[in-house]
Symmetry: C2
Subunit: 803 residues, 2 copies
Amino acid sequence: MESIMIYVPIFMAIIGLAFMSAKRAWVLKQDAGDGKMKEISDYIYEGALAFLKAEYRLLAFFVVGASIALAGISYVVPTTHILIVVAFIFGAFFSALAGNMGMKIATKTNVRTTQAARTSLPQALKVSFGGGTVMGLGVAGLAVLGLTGFFIILFHLFMGGIWTSTEDMTKVLETLAGFSLGAESIALFARVGGGIYTKAADVGADLVGKVEAGIPEDDPRNPATIADNVGDNVGDVAGMGADLFGSYVATVLAAMVLGNYVIKDMGGKIEDAFGGIGPILLPMAIAGFGILFSIIGTMLVKITDDNAKEAQVQKALNIGNWVSIALTAVACYFLVGKMLPETMKMTFFGEGLQDISSMRVFYASLIGLFVGGAISSVTEYYTGLGTKPVLAIVQKSSTGAGTNVIAGLATGMISTFPTVLLFAAAIWSTYALAGFYGVALAASAMMATTAMQLAIDAFGPISDNAGGIAEMSELPKEVRTRTDILDSVGNTTAATGKGFAIASAALTSLALFAAYVTFTGIDGINIFKAPVLAMLFVGGMIPVVFSALAMNSVGKAAMDMVYEVRRQFKEIPGIMEGTGKPEYGKCVEISTKAALREMMLPGILTIGFPIAIVILGKLVYGDNNQLIAEMLGGYMAGVTVSGVLWAVFQNNAGGAWDNAKKSFEAGVMINGEMTYKGSDAHKAAVTGDTVGDPFKDTSGPSMNILIKLTCLIGLVIAPILGGHVAGAEKTKGVNVEVITTDAPASKNTSREVVVSKTNVDGKVSATITTTMVENDGEPVTQTQTVEGTEAEVNKKLEELKKQ
Amino acid sequence: MESIMIYVPIFMAIIGLAFMSAKRAWVLKQDAGDGKMKEISDYIYEGALAFLKAEYRLLAFFVVGASIALAGISYVVPTTHILIVVAFIFGAFFSALAGNMGMKIATKTNVRTTQAARTSLPQALKVSFGGGTVMGLGVAGLAVLGLTGFFIILFHLFMGGIWTSTEDMTKVLETLAGFSLGAESIALFARVGGGIYTKAADVGADLVGKVEAGIPEDDPRNPATIADNVGDNVGDVAGMGADLFGSYVATVLAAMVLGNYVIKDMGGKIEDAFGGIGPILLPMAIAGFGILFSIIGTMLVKITDDNAKEAQVQKALNIGNWVSIALTAVACYFLVGKMLPETMKMTFFGEGLQDISSMRVFYASLIGLFVGGAISSVTEYYTGLGTKPVLAIVQKSSTGAGTNVIAGLATGMISTFPTVLLFAAAIWSTYALAGFYGVALAASAMMATTAMQLAIDAFGPISDNAGGIAEMSELPKEVRTRTDILDSVGNTTAATGKGFAIASAALTSLALFAAYVTFTGIDGINIFKAPVLAMLFVGGMIPVVFSALAMNSVGKAAMDMVYEVRRQFKEIPGIMEGTGKPEYGKCVEISTKAALREMMLPGILTIGFPIAIVILGKLVYGDNNQLIAEMLGGYMAGVTVSGVLWAVFQNNAGGAWDNAKKSFEAGVMINGEMTYKGSDAHKAAVTGDTVGDPFKDTSGPSMNILIKLTCLIGLVIAPILGGHVAGAEKTKGVNVEVITTDAPASKNTSREVVVSKTNVDGKVSATITTTMVENDGEPVTQTQTVEGTEAEVNKKLEELKKQ
């Protein structure tokens, strides 16, 4: 029997997309200003589109290449269906579509925000946040629509829309992993490429414009100024959107995989009102309701007072955010209660099958919501304006750039302490509550309000751009003051948003990691095996080298920009007097080309290493797939642990330097003296910020993608290494489990009990082999067989254990 | 029967110490100069002693506290003997003694080198390298004497000097671990405290002297100048010495533990010419012969030409180094061939017991020698004067401090790539050759020439100090030219020395890690268990936070120094005119106090976390020691992986910045123009070097100790969590192994074979349970039992497998 529930998330996604369309129409209906404003905004819009077009052209090649590779895999591996290629292409397409939509609306909203700021602050917030909402709902709506839609199609294709077996469902989910892989691949290039683009344009514009030519920032005479503004959209809007799109999809997918595993633990079949797939549908349902609550949340974000300050704007955002989170928590309570069996069975290492009440899954989801918020708060503490760590960096600026840099590095490094402890506590507690399904549900709950998070995130760069347009169009000062308030709040939300993105990426990777282990069918990943340990080291190194490559890429791309701007200053007559027109398009092109060229190497590193490890493993160990799977697992763990650390370190160090520099704008007290912009201390802080820029906008955020994509690639490779490849026929309903217990009978005897359990479509047979050794004598072996249903056999085994 | 071989290493150690004494007498007999030279050198000597005294006073408290804690452990855990406390105290004492000796000779040699440089370069090298030799042989001699001596005593006390069982030997080695723990604890404080001291004095002296007062470096009017010179000795000589002393002892110990495990795998007893403990004696023998070869190597280090340049001096050092390494390789061949059974049995995961020829252990030791050299070379490539990466940083200095800092960070980060790959390859290949015993032997071979390595290391700071004394005493220019040549070579050897120290620490930790697993008796460390994974994350975070604390400590300690120097400049009349005498002692005292105060928090972090994890685990899981042991193992792995990465990153970034700055002394070509000291690019490079200073001299080198000490603490805690506590009676010669094989018989049948092997003092019984499932039918189970010796049973199993 098929439940209507399976269609609910799609329905919610469509509501979300409908609401988005309405909002979009409303935003586009707003006055887009006139004259210079419109001209500049058009440049930015076209520049952004030009980047997207060039990027998509390149990505098309990648998608074709990767599709061929995937088709090859599906040909070789019997359990991998050719449809994975279709899923992959659609995943890539949906992600690109979401990015495209987001960029377009963001670049359309900025000028409208400027125009709205000419009337009032509440109106400016309404417009800019409206743009953010469109972005957020677009990403979330497309993600849920695509993933759920594909699931329904595959469920019908492979299983006829009714439950058959966990093995068939595994096949469905393995194919669905293609969708997630496609989305995350696009995210890699969007994040890395966008990150390089935005910083190359920024540095290039500053170095030649501000430093060499001595003209102010955002001056229209600077040929790179449009590229700089495009960069904000390319990096902060499209990059972040693709990142969260990927996390969102991957989290739900991983939770579904683990839900299937729960059903397996419960004997391969459950009876519920949802066609026996309640645990698999639950994460999708949470995602669907999350869209609804995000809509409600966004409707609450408003202010009425034109004289409002940052605090009120922040409060309005917070209210919307917390309401959507609270509603999600309530929904989780009901959804978990309704969709999961009241008592589930889950296998825990060393403890065997355990009864888990569904409420424990709810608690796990609460922990997910809490940790998302807590990690965001920690991020804000280490990077926010006026916080203790940032003020400490300000103080250290008085003794020069060297001490400023050291203080910023140390702040980023120390910030890993609470973040990692929170994260470790989340892993541990959610697992203790409900196994890896609990971990995945925690991640799902956290990601449920992605639409709201993205709306808050995207409104920042929109306001930033709006301010830039106001500056370039020489509008009255009060306009800039209003956009500055929004921009300032946007900086805070950007920092917390980065915290959220890391937390989500980390939990997502963990869930994927768990899904990987169940897909490959290995017992675990034993790092005491030397090849596995070696790969743990290699995995740990990858994020470090990736970050370095990304940082160097920014440097190289920036140099391309510098040469181009210099050329234009020299060759275009009258450019400095404002009579000659700079070729903005050339700079956009240069930045685009450089970003695309430079993102190749990190991309190859990310995608190539897992594949190289499998090939190497195959060469050395041949058919010992178990060991190769463990090696790849060790690599994935290394990337995740090191990636989370370097993400937190780089993002927070970068954020702290940025705000330490910004502190000088309002003036800071150093050694009893008020110090302002232009002072030596400020110059030192500027140096720190230069170091921090690629940290927080390029290499830091790329870590999220790196860890998720690594785990996803592992997941897609998993079937090749899976136990159910060699013994494909065997898995048909047969499940053998070996339990060894060591029960010393008395002081001079030792007893070794080996239980081998065979599960054939629910009929369980257990063989108990007992070896007794008395007083160093000969070992005596006894064998006993118990048969019946899972529950009966377990009961008998329990009785035997007591003997 | 006891073999004479057990006394050979002690004999070698005594030869080493005798040679050291002779060399020491020769060095002290050299002319120590006169007047101002002597005065300055006396100040340095006294300052160094003052630091040591204060440090030892503090450490005495620590040793007492730790001894009480250890006594508590030995009281609670039946297999831990109270003698561990004695071993601990002796380990601490020997390490402190070695450090003391090294510091004394280094501070005595520097002025004698200056004096020798007045006559000729060959003589200056002879004296400075003579001092280094004393240091190297002192450390190595005391390490081997202490460890081997204690082993013999414990072997006689616990086993009566003859082989009884692997369990008794485990007790011996567990107690011996106390010696290593004592040595490493002292190393922690010597490295961290020394690192903080040297940079605090350096920065303090520069900031007030050079920048504020405008007097040159090493100017005797600067009150902090003596503290600065003391710092070189405290950090580079004593810190490095204690570090390598610790690595040396820990490596040999870990190899011995794993040697005992080899004997266990071979049935708990072997027959050889060494009383049945050949595999345990081998690492000690290699260490002993290594001392001999180091002596030979040091005798080859000489030049004859007074007009020699850096290249010739470097060549002389290289010849000595390579000869000692080559001799060690040859010795390994004979020792391995003689001391190990021709064919050994070792358990490999998933492959069961395997026959391993002793030559494979020799190949593993060759890999160790190779990797030590290769990692040193990689370090030199990324940090050496005139190398591509360093020149790239120089180029980036032209666009300011920001780009210089980014380039330096990126260089350090990228340098982890070859280093980690080399290291991973070493783990993998040495394990494949001869299990974890192979890994430990590789480390032992690498560490065998520690005396030579230290001699080369210590000669650098001695020459540096000699140059400083020449400067302060206003000696003729040719003296400074000669010491500068030595100093320059010393900088290169310092970089490669750091590479060697990291490589040794990493391999040592790995060997300790393996020893830990065997001590606790767990099957492995499964990071798919959520609590274990959580601890992997926590462990990964510790090196990052530790580094940040160390860096901040330098900042705080430097500020103390700044205030003191400012005070003296203000309060002492005539100090700037050279008529008033600065209070050097006060500065030494300030630096000492600050260093000791600031090393507390990182120390507590290092020692406290493993203990906290065990306590937390006990609270949550009660008696599930297996899980707690795995959690601690996960933590250790996290610290090691992350620690190696951060060590390489920080050391190499720091080294690269340093030499990028130094490049400006001879002038560098930037954008087609020769650029020198004092240019803007040079100022940017100085900023980079300021950031790099705590990286390479404080936090980076501390990582070595952090990872080794973490693994050692784990090793000492291991018996508490060990399987042989709860089931102590059972392990008496009984060894049960469960092997599961999955052999699909045909397309429609599946076969599951579970083999349970019981080994009672060499008599093996295997039970084979076969479960067949045909066409989804009922499972059919068959049981067979095979008995006999290990070899017979294995043969029968092989035959059965073919069916």
